[in-house]
């Protein structure tokens, strides 16, 4: 069996020590494509923030079997301000910081190659010199994905990356993610609203909340679903 890249055991997540979702257990293998779906307020973003290390778990453990510095992150769009003077290249390059030691002020040759590689992968090479805030929503997300790829050897974590994008840009972005997952064997962990494309692209699905109340009455059942996307689709058909 392939060693899991992420193991989550008895995890309780929440803010300020107050738990909003209890006893989450799952693990995913290297190279998986995991979509976290669920209603608004089910705790998707809280879980993702906990996985990315922005929030402390209330209880339980969450173990990445790679160093956090080898993981890329793509925040929710609202967290990046739209009046910031920076070129696309400056934004992408900042991804290389996690690779270098703090006392190294400049980029290594390897960093520079990685930046070129990530820009080519995401198709942003033609507007590297452009101002980040003047790019379209889809272009901005691709630049942020390139930044995540610069820092990521193993996995990329994404928080609703297509929120606010038009359908065309959304479709392009998903195709890009799928390509990166399949060609580069980079694990994808993504929160999304879009159940349909999650079923289509993901290898695994974690659905928070929204379980059948009858099932929940039995002691052992938790208020989430985790399984392969095929199992998820199959379960949907049965219900």
């Amino acid at each position: 069996m392939i060693k899991p890249i992420l193991e989550v055991t008895d995890l309780c997540i929440g803010y300020d020590g107050k738990s909003i979702l209890d006893d989450i257990c799952f693990s995913i293998a290297d190279g998986s494509y995991l979509c976290i779906i669920g209603e608004n307020g089910a705790g998707k973003s809280t879980l993702l923030k906990t996985i990315s290390g922005l929030l402390k778990p209330v209880y339980g453990t969450m173990q990445f079997n790679v160093h956090r510095r080898e993981i890329g992150y793509l925040p929710q769009q609202a967290t990046i301000r739209n009046d910031f003077p920076a070129s696309a290249k400056e934004v992408i390059s900042s991804g290389a910081l996690s690779r270098g030691k703090w006392y190294r002020p400049f980029f290594s040759k390897e960093d520079k190659e990685r930046i070129v590689w990530a820009s080519e992968k995401t198709g942003v090479t033609s507007f590297l010199g452009h101002c980040f805030r003047e790019l379209s929503g889809g272009q901005q997300q691709r630049v942020l994905l390139a930044r995540a790829l610069v820092s990521a050897k193993n996995a990329v974590i994404l928080d609703e990356p297509t929120a606010g994008l038009d359908p065309e840009a959304t479709k392009e972005f998903y195709e890009l993610l799928l390509k990166i997952n399949r060609d580069e064997k980079i694990t994808i962990i993504m929160v999304t609203h879009d159940t349909e494309s999650a079923e289509k692209h993901a290898t695994h699905i974690l659905e928070l909340g929204g379980q059948d109340p009858e099932d929940l009455e039995e002691e052992d059942n938790d208020n989430y679903f985790f399984g392969t996307s095929d199992a998820y689709v199959e379960r949907g058909r049965l219900q």
């Binding site: 160093h67 910031f84 003077p85 400056e90 900042s94 910081l97 002020p105």
Partner: protein, 282 residues
């Protein structure tokens, strides 16, 4: 008097060097502050430095920097680093309280406890607005040396940590999620900010300090769309405006610090207009 004649006086030289050095430092710390939405902090912190000066004056400290600098650095760290962590009082409210409170405490302390004779109002006015004539601009040789050392240290730190200063200004969440320590760089920036504001306040007065933090940064944002470009432009704008202001003040017998601010405002208005025109026609 002509400009070469004026330049032969040591006090003109000190004032000129001090104002250029502080322009470099203040514009460098100004860019991250403005981009992180802490524009008003420059003014708040120079008032804290003023309060420190007031205490130093009252207890008759010979080296007031020994009190003013730690106090300002501490206030910066509290505001930048931990403002978001104590949600009971919003960052906006705590900054406003600090700005108004420290100004009032400083003024109160000087007026109530000052044992030294002389014109208190003038001393207060000088610490706030700088001297009304260049002779009274506070720069003294040892302080100019200190300014030079601190400027060199600040510039070296900025070059060395340039990419991390960019990252911590642009997206701290990303840094944290990728296993870096944004808090360390926020702390570094806070310490630099506090030191520069304390020194600049004692050399040029609090009003000019606050102006040098915001105006060059905002002017630079009209000129450039990249972070590196904004950093460079801010320093250039600040370094050009200071001597222009000082010579204008000398030649027409105007108050030097506020003249430098006038020049900075004029530069901002001019560059904004250019920026608007460029967007219209290009």
């Amino acid at each position: 008097m002509s400009i070469p004649e004026l330049l032969s006086f040591p006090f003109t030289q000190y004032a000129l060097i001090a104002s250029i050095l502080m322009a470099i430092c203040a514009s460098l710390i100004g860019v991250p502050l403005v981009l992180k939405r802490y524009s008003f902090m420059g003014f708040g912190l120079s008032n804290v430095a003023f309060m420190g000066m007031a205490f130093a004056l009252v207890i008759d400290m010979t080296n007031s920097m020994a009190l003013v600098m730690p106090l300002t650095v501490l206030a910066t760290i509290l505001l930048v680093g931990f403002g978001n962590r104590f949600k009971k009082i919003s960052g906006d409210a705590s900054l406003a309280m600090l700005t108004v409170g420290s100004l009032a405490v400083g003024h109160f302390v000087i007026n109530t406890f000052s044992i030294r004779g002389g014109n208190i109002d003038r001393a207060v006015s000088e610490t706030l607005f700088g001297g009304t004539r260049l002779v009274t601009l506070n720069a003294r040789p040892q302080e100019v040396w200190l300014a030079l050392i601190i400027t060199v240290v600040v510039v070296v730190l900025y070059i060395f940590f340039y990419r991390r200063i960019f990252a911590v200004t642009f997206d701290t969440e990303f840094m944290q999620a990728t296993g870096q320590h944004p808090i360390a760089y926020e702390l570094l920036l806070s310490v630099i900010t506090g030191v520069v504001i304390a020194l600049s306040m004692s050399l040029l007065g609090s009003l000019l300090t606050a102006s040098l933090i915001i105006f060059p940064a905002l002017s630079a944002m009209q000129l450039s769309k990249t972070y590196k470009g904004v950093m460079f432009s801010a320093v250039i704008v600040a370094v050009v405006c200071s001597p222009v202001g000082i010579f204008t003040a000398l030649l027409y017998e105007l108050p030097p610090t506020t003249t430098i601010i006038m020049v900075n405002i004029a530069a901002f208005v001019f560059l904004t207009a250019i920026g608007k025109l460029r967007r219209l026609f290009v």
